[in-house]
Symmetry: C3
Subunit: 204 residues, 3 copies
């Protein structure tokens, strides 16, 4: 297993977890089998599709490599059939979701920088890669996106994207430092969850 294989495996784990979050939201809204699979697909791959459109990498990876779509749909269908047993899995799902956040932020930021996007734009694209799927999931199921309302989710991604960009601009962006960056984002997200950190709401 090479480092490229490792990256792909990690990427597909993120896809599966985000697809499961989309499928759960679809089931809660009583969508049918197709709706659950579709919201799972969008939650898993919507952020990456947006990233690829914005950096001009077409067709987006979600359509160019069949393993992404198949992983997303398979994970969504598993949740569709198994979901009554899934309620006790809440903790591992939150852990995997935080891992997906870290991973998608790092790969999104790197791909934007590689495509020649300047630093500020690359940070934004890295963050959008990580939160875009969840945003689309909430819009499709008729909710105001939860990432805009509370928690310390997008800000963990944005901080990580800034870190990755600084590491790249200073020339010390090896696979190790990128892996540590993803772990840091995941860690910040988990600490924020555990300590109930939240961004402030405006005074009334």
């Amino acid at each position: 297993m090479t480092s490229g294989d490792g990256l792909l495996a990690a990427d597909l784990i993120g896809v599966a977890v985000f697809a499961a979050s989309g499928a759960s939201a679809g089931i809660a809204k009583r969508l049918d089998l197709f709706g659950v699979a579709f919201v799972g697909f969008v939650a898993a791959l919507g952020g990456g599709i947006l990233r690829d459109l914005v950096i001009g990498s077409v067709p987006p990876l979600a359509f160019a490599d069949w393993r992404y779509a198949v992983t997303a749909v398979a994970a969504a269908l598993l949740v569709f059939w198994l979901h009554p047993q899934l309620t006790r899995w809440r903790r591992p799902v939150l852990l995997l979701d935080a891992s997906g956040l870290g991973l998608f932020t790092v790969t999104g930021t790197i791909k934007a920088l590689d495509a020649g996007v300047p630093p500020v734009g690359a940070c934004l694209i890295g963050m959008l890669t990580a939160i875009g799927g969840g945003l689309a999931r909430d819009l499709l199921t008729g909710e105001i996106p939860v990432v805009l309302q509370r928690d310390f989710y997008a800000l963990a991604a944005l901080s990580g994207a800034i870190l990755v960009t600084i590491l790249r601009e200073t020339g010390i962006a090896d696979p190790l430092s990128m892996g540590v960056s993803a772990l840091l984002i995941t860690g910040v997200r988990l600490v924020a969850l555990y300590r109930r950190w939240s961004a402030p709401v405006a005074a009334p």
Copy 2:
């Protein structure tokens, strides 16, 4: 009239029907003249715009060929002025909508394959071309997309996209087989409507 003219005419009929469905949804939500025309435009051309962005064909056909936008807006305005008389047209509209579904699936899948998208991605893009406009229509009018909730609409499109891809990969994709594929999708959709087929909903 050449076969290209025939294809264009068929395409514009699909555009007009989907625009009418968007305009009806806009009128039901008490949108103004502009809103009705806009939702009609998006319902008719949103799927094709998404397809063209994803395969890198810019500007999308909806902006590059004025006949598409003019057809969509004209159909939406006709519905705006005539809609009280339209209630008895429910059956022909469902028939035309099923034809649009078949046609947009076939042309979307072919364009994706022609642009070099691999088979799985091309099937997804073909289906998105057919259902994307209706999805956007429902989001703009504040509804959870109906295509995610019930019926056998997207799955008819997806099955058709798979058929078209198999025909193309095996080299037997002449205009006749493509026309038959569009008719098959339309037929499956109509049978599903008549027999009230629906994809299952998850157990509670």
Copy 3:
């Protein structure tokens, strides 16, 4: 200060005003600090991002030039902290919003024509540049877009886009005539506001 500087300054004023409108909508929905900044960003830059994707200019200006994102986020954060004092600013905000409408329509139409989009498509893209951000703002905050429901907002933009396109096609599109076009759109929008012009709603 060159004419290019003047155009950039005017563009950034439009960005700031639209970001403020997005931030206000986010505060009204009790979004947190990040949500308010994000809706501000999308309201200010969503129309331009859509325009750039459609004309194939990637990465979109919102990601390629840091001044756009920084202006949008700074304006949104100012509104987040100052909003209780902002209620008496309603009139200047409506004035600035109308200016943004005029400016974004003119620059959007010109960029589309420069990218080789034919006249009808360029008019639509010019209008979408001006109304796209507000549309996305309303979708993110769970509202049916106000631009589809009442007022004479999008039609002012569309009329202006047609004027700009005619001026360009007849070869008399110097900076002066473009500035006058932007002022005309702004003026029509303000007169419509003052006289309560509205597009008609369909008969029940």
